[in-house]
Every structure is written in C-alpha cells, then in structure tokens.
Amino acid sequence: MLDTVFIGLSLGSVLLLVALGLSIVYGSMGVINMAHGELVMIGAYTAVLSQIYLDINLFAAIPLAFVICAGLGLLIEKLVIRRLYNRLFDTLLATWGVAILLQQAIRLEFGLSFFGIHVDGLGPGLQSVTVPKVLSEPIMLGDFVLQPYRTFIILISIVLAAFTWFLMYRTRIGQQVRAIMRNKEMAAACGIDVKKINALTFAYGSGLAGVAGVMMSGFKTVMPDMGSAMVVDGFLVVVVGGVGSLVGSIVASGVLGQLTSFVAFFSNDIIARAVVFAVVICIIVWRPRGLFNYKGR
C-alpha cells in the first residue's frame, strides 16, 4: 500500500515537473506549446552529452540543462511565438512544427549525419545516463524500500514548485506576470513591458522543461521521440488543474499520479493510462475551466 502511494507520488511529481513549465506558459501567455515535450527531450540529451563530453554528473547537468533550454526557449519565442499572440490554435500548430524540427535535429545530429560524421550521444538510437551512486542504491527503512532516485525527483519537483511560487507571488517580475495573466492590455497600459516579460516567462518555462528532462534521463531511456507523450500528459494536468493555477497543477498532478499508480497496481499500466484519459475527459466535461480557477479574466 505504502509502496503504491509512493510510486503514485513519484509519478505525480514527474507529471508536475513537465506540467509546471507548460502551465506558466499557457496560463500567462495563452500559448499552447507543443514543443514543450521536445524541450524536455533536449534537457535529457544535455544530461547525456554532458556526461560523455564534460564528464560531469547528473547534479551538475541540472543547471546546465536549465540554461540551455531557457536559451532555446528564448530563441523559439523570438522567432515564432511572438508573431502568434492571440492566435491560440496557431501557436499549437506552429509549435508542433518546432517540435518536429527539434526531434529531427537530434536524429540527424544537427545535420552532421549528412556528412557522415557521427556524434556520440546523438542520432536516432537510444541513450542512457549513469545515475550517481548516492541515488541508485535503495535504502531500507524497516519493511519499506526507499528508492532514492524517486525520492530525489519528488524533492526536486517540490523545490521547483516552491521556487516558482516564490517567483510568481513574491517578486516584482512575478507580479507583472500575474498582471499580464489577468489582463494583458491593462498591464501594458500600466507600463509593464509585456513583450519582455512574456519572453522571460517562456524562457523560464522552457528552462523548467530542461530540468525535467535531466530528471527523466535518470530513469527512462533517452531517445528523440520521448517528448511527445509527455506533452500530452502535461496538458492533461494543466487543463484538469485549471489554466494558470499553480495550486491546480500541483493537485492535478498528484491526483493523476496516484490514480495511475493505484489502477496499475490492480490491473496493468495500459489500463491505468486509459483510466486516466477517461477521468480527464470526465473532469473537463464536468468543469471545463479546471478544478482550480480564479474568477475573472
């Protein structure tokens, strides 16, 4: 029982890691970023590559991935997203194109494979990351086996959620982001540089995706199309939780994580996913605006 709860908690925290960035981007900018999963994938590859070439461990790859993905996010915002504000569906489609591009960039090793050059750690194949020893040896607490890596993921997601909360509710920039969320025109009229704040928001969301990617690389095989399933899960969490609601995303990922874990315990993984989808559909039909949603807007 405790095991199942614990697995649910760690599944939920993985969901939260992916959903956190999506939620901020969607909530404040009204952009559906289908490339978010690919940013997670880039984060995972950052972990792989930094291990091969820079010889640094997983912990050190976390800030690196954050910086790289945030930079990439900034670029995507400048080139694509910026031109598509107020065209919700078009952001979905354009970022899907971006997602394909990112995937192929990794598969084709940034185009080098045309010239017969192979870069270790890139390409269409599967990659993996060695997890530091501290995180790979299970700890026995009486009957309960504590998986350190899962615990680590839970901790990281709590830290990131707390940090995001701090940014959003205790800093000047966060205040501006929330102002934009409520009413973009009014915010602009009050002297907030909406373009700049949006670019920063998108970069921060992308950076979170990068961190999520590093965490994923520790327990999943890393491959170019690992991201597409994740973005779907992420969106389900965001929509169920309520767009733009930090608390909503946390609760929704917790609930969906536990649901997956318990159904999987009684049947199998596929049925668990199917049940999650069914429950999500019901929740959206029941409360289209999500479980937690502030009034207004």
């Binding site: 899907w96 394909i100 969106f235 049925i271 559909i281």
Partner: protein
C-alpha cells in the same frame, strides 16, 4: 469571368485530373495514389470541422480508425486463413494464437468478447458499421461537448484524450482486436461476387469517385442554409444563439458529418491497403491531418483536400531515397511553421488572393473599355 467561375474551374480541373490519372500511372502507383486520395478525403473532413465549424478536432484518427477496423473485421473473417481454421464459423488467426487451451473453438466463445465479431461475417454489416460507429462516437462526444458549451482548446484536449484512450483500448485487447499488429491478411472487398483487387483500376475509380462525391456533397452542404448557420455560429456563437438557432445541434450535426467522412475514408483505406492498424489512432496521425488542412487551406474544402494529397504524395516520393527520409520530416516541420506564420489561409488563401487580383484586373479593363467607348461617343457627339 467572376470569382465563382474560377472556383468552379478549379473543381473541374481537379476532378478531371483525378479521373484521368489511370492513363498515366502503373498499378503500383495507382494503388498509392488511391491512398493519397483517401487522405484527401480526410482533408475534407478536417476542413469541414475546423474551417467551417471552428472545432479543432485533434482526434480525427478515432473516426478514421473506427471506420477502418469495422470493415477490417469483416474482411478479416472473409480471408482464407480465417475460413480454413477447420471450424464452422471463420476465426481470425490471432484469436487462435491467444485462445486458452481448453477454449471452445468457435467465434461465439473462443474468448470473452469474440461474440462481438459474429455479425461481421456479413460484409454489409461491416460496411454499415464503418460509417455508423464513427457517427455514433461523434454524436455521443459532440452532444455532451456542445450542449455543455465547451469550446476552443478544451474540445481539442477532449478529442485528443479520446483518440488516445481508444488507441490504448484497441492495443490492450489483443485477443479481440489484434493488438499492436492490428488486422492484417485481409480478404479483398467483394460486391456481388466482384472482387476489388487493391492494385486494379477499378479500386482506384471506387476511391476516386467516392472522393469526388464526398467533395461535391460537402460543398453543397456548406452552401446550404444549415451550412451558413454553422459558419455564423463559428464566427459569433452568442449572436447566433440569440437569433434563435440551436447552436449545439448544428455543431453536433456537422461534427457527425465530419466523422462519417473520416469513417468512410477509413473503410476505403482498408480496401486499398489491406490492413488496419492502431497507428491510425496515433496522435501524430491526427495532427498530420490537421497539418494537411492547414497547408492546403483550412477554410477551403478543395484546398485542404489538395493539401493532403500533395503533402502525402511529396512525402512518400521523397522518402524513396534513404537520405531524405529523416530530413523530409524536418523540412515538413519547417514548412509547417512557415505556413502558420506567413500564410494562415494556406495554399488556398494564396490562390484566392491571385483570383481576386485577376478578377479585379479584368473588371478594370472592362471599365476602361467602357469609359473609352463613352468618351468616344461624347467626342463624336460634340463634333
């Protein structure tokens, strides 16, 4: 020549081209082209729901897949391997592989769900179900969604979750659906003893005529009164409601029509390609359909249709060479970003613009001629 003349001309050119193609292609390419035409039909379905109803359905593959599986089940039971199991009723081979050791070898009870297959021994039943099931799904989903007033992205998320849910159920029920492998080794589609060889000209014409009929009927439908009301609901739902129209009913109806077209495309696809697979219900495939419509022009039935045909044709001819397989994907992704950014109405939008210019120039000429004539007349009068 007016704008609508040019539009009719575009339709005529398209239809004639489709009908003339067998003169130029060999059997292999005919079969392939038939598949692209089926994708064209999917383009029509997406354009109808996205361009005209304003519903971005990210789960169109659910209807396509349902159509494909329904006829696929009938064709599976009619295949020689199923017929020659040495039992009274035909039994699909994958059911034999999955059978419990002491199971009764009969379609009624070889596994707990196999009785569902019994009516599919009739191909007519399979045909009817291939349209009916998608429509039923669409009606069930649509009547809930639209009567609750759910709109925009939330519809996309619900349809997306539904298609993935269905894919999981199909994959998980291996004994009933063939699981990951789908339905393979199917019989040919047969009407009154005539067998439709997928690589024959007849099958090509079956597909081509179906496409043309669907295209024209959809065209008629969107120009009908209900089609116009649908478009008004898309543009301003509240205003349409206050004018007394039952918005939910219209939306549900057109959602079902779009599903029926997709289901029809699914059953044609099974006839031409001889398999049904859970990949029809992959998220990627459903989004690819949307890409076709976006590139061709979401607000144009013909544009979306041509977009689908052109992209899939280009895609598969490019991926003949190994070097291009992966880079084609990248090129497609890039094209897609560029189309969304710079030509939101797709190829059809560009064609539309050109037509407008052409017509305007002609009008100008006409006006100038008349002016000249008038001037000459007045001059003559003065003299």
């Amino acid at each position: 020549m007016t704008h609508s003349h040019l539009k009719i001309m575009a339709y005529v050119i398209f239809i004639v081209t489709v009908l003339m193609l067998p003169l130029a292609l060999d059997e292999f390419w005919l079969n392939r082209t038939a598949k692209y035409l089926i994708f064209g039909m999917l383009g029509v379905a997406v354009s109808l729901s996205w361009g005209y109803a304003g519903i971005l359905n990210l789960g169109q593959g659910m209807f396509f897949g349902a159509g494909a599986y329904m006829l696929g089940m009938s064709l599976k039971l009619a295949s020689p391997t199923s017929l020659e199991q040495g039992t009274e009723s035909p039994i699909p081979d994958f059911m034999m592989w999955n059978a419990e050791p002491n199971a009764v070898i009969d379609l009624c009870c070889i596994n707990s769900g196999s009785f569902l297959w019994i009516p599919f021994q009739s191909q007519t039943f399979g045909l009817i179900m291939a349209i009916a099931l998608p429509v039923l799904f669409a009606w069930a989903l649509g009547s809930i969604i639209f009567s609750k007033g759910i709109s925009g992205v939330f519809i996309s998320i619900i349809t997306l979750a539904s298609v993935l849910l269905m894919r999981l159920l199909v994959v998980d029920n291996q004994a009933l659906t063939g699981g990951f492998n789908g339905l393979t080794d199917l019989a040919w589609f047969t009407v009154f003893g005539y067998e439709f060889d997928p690589y024959s000209v007849t099958t090509y014409y079956l597909v081509a005529c179906s496409l043309i009929v669907v295209l024209l009927l959809t065209r008629l439908l969107i120009n009908s009164r209900s089609g116009l009301i649908l478009q008004s609901i898309r543009d301003d739902q509240n205003r349409a409601k206050y004018l007394g129209f039952d918005a939910a009913a219209y939306q549900t109806f057109f959602f079902c029509v779009s599903a029926a077209i997709s289901g029809f495309a699914g059953l044609l696809y099974v006839i031409t390609s001889e398999f049904a697979s859970p990949t029809f219900m992959d998220l990627t495939f459903s989004i690819t359909m949307v890409i076709w419509a976006a590139v061709g022009g979401r607000a144009s039935i013909l544009g979306a249709c041509i977009g689908a045909i052109a992209i899939s044709m280009l895609g598969s001819s490019v991926s003949e060479s190994e070097l291009f397989v992966e880079s084609w994907q990248a090129i497609l992704g890039l094209c897609f970003v560029l189309v969304v950014l710079f030509m939101p109405n797709g190829l059809a939008g560009i064609a539309h613009g050109l037509c407008k210019k052409f017509v305007a120039r002609q009008d100008d000429k006409k006006q100038r001629n008349e002016q000249n004539k008038a001037e000459e007349l007045t001059k003559g009068g003065a003299a």
